[in-house]
């Protein structure tokens, strides 16, 4: 399972919870965090107060109208509260999924050499526990002794067990996962409540959410616009008075609330929470909202060749015989030489021979063979049996072997070897005693669909850099085949850090994905560092995101989610501001119909009465928040196109659409209001 199923949009339990929670959010101390909605709440309260005063004084001329205005102002606040509560509710649902993994477990604590059983919640950092087959790992930690198969389905949804062992890059274990074979000693690395699962639960629930940098900047814009519109409304009172019109507070407030960007103001935090939520659906846990935002801004992606661009290992893809040898003969010799070779390369040779020539690996026992394992000195391996000595290995070594046995090396062989090298493959020469048989072409197999992914990324304007320890020739060939933008060959772990620093010095943002301890400095340096859950604890601490699936291509989804989050924010901001044009045409003529009846000419929507015009604008302004909740939670659809194309498209939809939609919406609401004789 690569993706968690998101909860249905209007999942009843979430809606119910959100309805209740949105009531708590009326608390002015909570509203004050959002300047736009705070203004709505304060003015709604003021209008309500005025209404009560009017009621006492017996001034009930326009009471029905004003009560409705007040109600819809409160609804506007309620709808914004509901949007936020919905996003939080969905986050909570995700968090509950995560939380299910942490059932109350017992831990076998080792202290002073003795083992004792304690509750998992009492474990502290640096405690050492032993976990045996069938037991649940009590907390986040590092394997310090042993090797075990661990089922991480509880976290990743992936049921195939993974190997966790001490030392190396597969040493981190997560609380809540289950050991299914052997036993391991685990050093606990997080106090209860501080595990990354705990931190994540907090983040998706929204409780620990802090505003991200771009959200802060956007809030400043929205607050600034709010102040501008307050100036407009405050000054309108004396302006109107000059023309003989006395504007009532409810009407002025109606204008103000319609003008200030309530749509984006009400949905802003929901968009942010939903962005985190979408990451979790992809099994990526972000440690901060800032990281999600940075993901959208990434300019350069550093990708490890192995595992990201290519399948993990080289595979035999071809047998090329020399000197009139039958291909099947070469294949058989190669297969024999590889029978005892348990490396993935060796196995791939056996499989290729079987697939191409129907050769079944013979039982080792029945041929009484003597297998020669690979060694760093000889740089070849093979098998001796029936007086034959078959070897496979690097071309220079095999050439020497052939000559030692009195054979000749044909020139043809060298050219084949060279050709394979140029294609980025690895040539393995096979010889039978003095007789060279041919060459096995081993090559990196590019992951399916990776080319298309690179095209998407490049269309988005990202630079992709492949990092590999291979020689430049091999690297270039793989780069060409996979379509990656750039590559760095013969890279050491330090290379990554250097590349990241170089890119950052040019002002670029860099994302990388890594797992090993030696990746940790680079993960920490990168603007978006995604650690694989299967990696070391050091890597997980250094990165600002963790991929629970440990799938290196996940980095691309992360970038897309980041971009989608930013686009959604921008689209709703643009839409919200563009909406104001229509509201003016509804409210201004209605406000001044008595003093300046000529302004009726601006009532281009032909709204029924001044009261219904104002009421309809306020209702539209409130309902649009509800109507846009799905968009805020799901995000604007994102297609990997160049910035210019995306911008044109979104400007048409949310800019031009934002101007037109409210004209239609307000007119329709006005027809309903008029039909029901509400105003």
């Amino acid at each position: 399972m690569a993706e968690r199923k998101p909860a249905a949009l209007w999942e009843p339990t979430i809606v119910k919870g959100a309805l209740i929670n949105s009531l708590y959010k009326f608390d002015p101390r909570i509203q004050a965090r959002n300047p736009v909605m705070f203004v709505v709440e304060v003015t709604a309260a003021a209008v309500t107060l005025i209404l009560c005063v009017n009621l006492f004084q017996g001034d009930t001329k326009l009471l029905g109208f004003e009560v409705q205005i007040a109600l819809w102002l409160w609804f506007t606040v309620a709808f914004a509260n509901f949007a936020e509560a919905m996003a939080e509710g969905r986050g909570k649902a995700q968090a509950d999924n995560l939380r299910k993994t942490r059932t109350e477990t017992q831990a076998h604590l080792i202290r002073d050499g003795a083992e004792m059983v304690v509750p998992a919640t009492s474990l502290r950092r640096d405690d050492v526990v032993i976990v045996r087959a069938g037991e649940v790992i009590p907390g986040d930690g590092t394997v310090i002794e042993g090797v075990a198969a661990v089922n991480e389905a509880a976290i990743t949804g992936e049921s195939a067990p993974v190997i966790r062992e001490s030392g190396g890059d597969r040493s981190a274990v997560t609380g809540g996962t289950t050991v299914i074979s052997d036993s391991i000693k685990v050093k606990i690395t997080a106090n209860p409540g501080e595990t990354f699962l705990d931190r994540m639960i907090g983040l998706v629930e929204g409780a620990e959410r802090q505003k991200t940098p771009n959200e802060i900047a956007l809030s400043i814009l929205l607050a600034g616009l709010t102040i501008v519109f307050m100036l407009v409304c405050v000054s309108l009172y004396p302006f109107a008075l000059y023309g003989g019109t006395v504007l009532s507070l409810p009407v002025l407030v109606a204008l103000l609330v319609c003008l200030i960007p309530t749509t984006i103001g009400g949905l802003l935090s929901a968009i942010g929470i939903a962005g985190m939520d979408r990451l979790v659906q992809h099994n990526v846990l972000a440690m901060s909202g800032r990281a999600v935002e940075a993901a959208g801004d990434v300019d350069t992606l550093l990708l490890d060749k192995t595992g990201t661009i290519t399948l993990g290992n080289r595979m035999a893809t071809e047998f090329i015989p020399v000197g009139g040898v039958e291909p099947a003969q070469l294949a058989e010799a190669a297969q024999l030489a590889s029978l005892a070779d348990e490396t993935p390369e060796g196995r791939s040779i056996v499989v290729l021979a079987k697939n191409r020539f129907g050769l079944r690996g013979r039982e080792l026992a029945e041929i009484h063979a003597n297998f020669i394992p690979f060694s760093a000195q000889t740089r070849m391996s093979g098998v001796d049996f029936d007086g034959r000595s078959i070897r496979k290995g690097a071309s220079d070594r095999i050439a020497a072997f052939v000559r030692e046995n009195g054979g000749e090396v044909p020139a043809e062989l060298d050219s084949i070897v060279e050709a394979i090298g140029k294609q980025g493959g690895t040539p393995l020469v096979v010889a039978d005693g003095p007789r060279p048989l041919g060459v096995i072409h081993l090559k990196d197999v590019i992951k399916e669909g990776i080319r298309e992914r690179f095209q998407r990324l490049h269309a988005m304007g990202l630079r992709t850099v492949m990092i590999t320890g291979d020689n430049p020739l091999t690297a270039a060939a793989i780069a060409k085949e996979s379509g990656v933008g750039d590559f760095v060959a013969e890279a050491t772990p330090e290379t990554k850090l250097k590349i990241i620093r170089d890119e950052q010095a040019q002002g670029k943002l860099v994302a990388m994905i890594g797992d090993g301890t030696n990746d940790a400095p680079a993960l920490a340096q990168a603007d978006v560092g995604i650690a694989m859950n299967a990696g070391t604890q050091a890597a997980r601490e250094a990165g600002n995101m963790v991929d629970l699936d440990s799938n290196p291509t996940k980095i691309m989804e992360v970038v897309e989610i980041g971009k989608q989050l930013l686009i959604t924010r921008g689209a709703l901001t643009t839409f919200s501001i563009a909406n104001d044009v229509a509201k003016y045409f509804a409210i201004i003529p209605a406000m001044f119909v008595v003093g300046y009846p000529q302004l009726q000419a601006l009532n281009i929507m032909r709204l029924a009465t001044p009261q219904s015009a104002i009421l309809s604008a306020v209702i539209f302004n409130a309902l649009i928040i509800i109507a846009l909740i799905p968009l805020a939670l799901r995000g604007v659809s994102y297609r990997p196109l160049g910035a210019a194309a995306i911008l044109t498209r979104n400007l048409l939809i949310y800019g031009l659409g934002g101007v037109i939609v409210p004209f239609i919406g307000i007119k329709l609401i006005d027809m309903v209001v008029a039909a029901l004789h509400l105003a």
């Binding site: 771009n214 010095a505 971009k563």
Partner: protein
């Protein structure tokens, strides 16, 4: 008629384009300290000025130092001007023996000329001595323009420099703007004006006997030189009360063309200076085209509205159609030698920029025709704009446009590779906020107080427009008079003077801070994923944002002034 207007406006914008490109590139060289053709003549003079004033030209300033220098310089200049006005009766070059200027008027005038507004609550020929005109007002015409250019150049440096703290030296930019840019062009323009009949003398006023035997006093003075800087520096303060409608200031259609060209030239050229300094000329063109679009839009509406005239006349049997014998349309307040198109063009140009010179009386424009100048100023004088202030105002709008819509490409907003973050947004919003506050709040007070209402000369919406216009032109540092408003009162002298000062300096400081903040940033090199700010989409977006922001802010006020008045006029309603 349409052909005539299209031809004139088209020719005009073509000339603006032709002048602005070389001038802009020249200015980029001047302010980068690169060699120019005028160096042999001006370098020695420049060195002397620095030595005398103790300026170290190589020492650049950070934004705070730059702002402080600019403020100190402006404050000192304002005080000197105030003193000159108050003491002119004791000083030479006062052949008419004009007395001291009243304190409130002197304050208003000092504020007005220091801020490049050139709002004149007085008649020049009956209030100011030649010394005050030349050493006070004309001096400020040069240095307030030069200060505007200097700040714009510093702001450009902030936008284009990377990881830098310094944005230039105010004193050097001021001197170079004056010597290399303003003076040489003024010299040429003055000669051309003199050739066309504009006086340039220090003679006492001439008394002439008219045909009917009455005596007429004809004012004289060093008009041509003042006229040149009045237009070029987008100052707009006329030597005479009638400003560029006066035959001594603007005698022929040719001088009229020269004057409108002079008004736009530096503002338009600065866009290309920006493009050149940014290392991407298309960035400059994007701003230029946006400005040109908004200009053409305004000029077209104003011309159309003036040519359509007032339907009341038709009902009275007056022929207002254009023909071979008359320009038709609404000729009230216009000079016959300019006609409809040149008057509408001048009104548009003078309010697109912060010039405020007039060759027709804006009070007499049709309501819709008068809405164009008003809206031009409410947009913030960024359609080519005041020298310097137009460009930096436009850059703030570009930052805003990038911020609002830039997120829609899926990156946090950036302009010229610089990330627009909370600090930049705070400063940009401050800039955008101050402007309507300076217009709407005092106008609100004026219409609610006796002192404010005392100034208006027409009842109904037109009177409201007069007040709204006055505070708009003051905040925008335009200085054009809608006329009709009696502004030489204590109330208006003080409020308008204060609004002018705030409208200049309270907007310069945030924009300099914005430049300082951007200068410190690294620039992200552009990629296919970068928001493009040098193409057609950006022009459309920027135009849209400018219009929507201005419309949203001022629509209610304008609706109660020119809009309701236009609608009333169409229905033959009078107030």
């Amino acid at each position: 008629m349409f052909e005539n207007a299209a031809l004139q406006i088209g020719l005009f914008i073509a000339l603006v384009t032709a002048i602005s490109v070389p001038l802009g590139l020249y200015m980029a060289r001047v302010f980068a300290g690169e060699p120019t053709i005028l160096d042999p003549a001006l370098r020695p003079l420049e060195r002397v000025i620095y030595r005398v004033c103790g300026v170290h030209p190589e020492a650049e300033q950070n934004w705070v130092e730059y702002a402080v220098s600019m403020l100190l310089f402006s404050m000192a200049g304002m005080l000197v001007l105030y003193a000159l006005e108050r003491l002119q009766q004791f000083l030479p070059f006062n052949p008419q023996h004009l007395g001291a200027v009243a304190p409130d008027l002197a304050f208003n005038t000092a504020a007005s000329f220091t801020t490049n507004t050139n709002w004149q609550a007085y008649s020049g020929e009956t209030t100011m001595s030649y010394l005050t005109q030349m050493a006070g007002l004309a001096f400020h015409n040069f240095v307030s323009a030069a200060a505007g250019i200097a700040v714009a150049i510093a702001v450009i440096r902030g936008f284009v420099r990377r990881s830098a703290r310094i944005i230039g030296n105010f004193w050097v930019d001021l001197v170079r703007a004056t010597l290399w840019v303003l003076l040489p062009i003024c010299a040429i323009l003055t000669l051309m004006l003199v050739w066309q009949g504009v006086p340039e003398n220090l003679s006492p006023y001439v008394r002439a006997k008219t045909v009917e035997g009455a005596t007429q006093v004809i004012a004289q003075g060093p008009v041509a030189s003042q006229e040149a800087i009045k237009e070029l520096g987008t100052n707009g303060g006329g030597f005479f009360n009638a400003n560029s409608a006066h035959p001594y200031e603007n005698p022929t259609p040719l001088t009229n063309l020269l004057e409108v060209l002079a008004i736009f030239s530096i503002g338009a050229a600065l866009t290309h200076t920006f493009g050149a300094m940014a290392g991407d000329r298309r960035q400059g063109w994007a701003l230029f085209v946006t400005m040109a679009l908004l200009f053409v839009l305004g000029a077209a509406v104003a011309t159309w509205s003036e040519q359509s005239g007032n339907p009341q006349f038709a009902t009275l049997g007056i022929d207002t159609h254009a023909s071979a014998l008359q320009s038709g349309g609404n000729m009230e307040g216009k000079e016959v030698r300019f006609g409809i198109v040149d008057s509408a063009l001048f009104a548009t140009v003078t309010t697109d920029t912060s010039c405020g010179a007039v060759n027709s009386m804006h009070d007499s424009l049709t309501p819709l025709g008068g809405l164009v100048p008003l809206l031009n100023m409410q947009i913030g004088e960024i359609i080519f704009g005041g020298v310097g202030s137009g460009l930096y105002g436009m850059l703030v709008m570009a930052v805003l446009a990038v911020f609002i819509a830039g997120l829609m490409v899926g990156r946090t907003p950036e302009y010229l590779g610089k990330k627009i973050e909370a600090r930049e947004m705070k400063l940009a919003m401050l800039f955008i906020l101050i402007f309507p506050a300076l217009i709407l709040l005092p106008a609100g007070i004026a219409v609610a107080t006796k002192a404010g209402l005392a100034g208006i000369s027409n009842p109904g919406p037109h009177g409201f427009t007069q007040i709204l216009y006055a505070f708009t032109e003051a905040a925008a540092n335009n200085g054009s008079a809608f006329a009709g408003l009696n502004a030489n009162t204590l109330f208006y002298n003080v409020t308008l003077g204060a609004v002018m000062l705030f409208g200049r300096f309270m907007m310069m400081i945030p924009v300099l801070a914005l430049a300082g903040s951007l200068a410190e940033k690294k620039a992200v090199p552009p990629s296919a994923g970068t928001f493009p700010t040098n193409g057609a989409i950006f022009v459309v977006l920027l135009t849209g944002v400018i219009l929507i922001v201005a419309a949203l802010t001022f629509f209610p006020a304008d609706a109660l002034g020119p809009i309701v008045e236009q609608l009333a006029m169409l229905r033959h309603q009078l107030y």
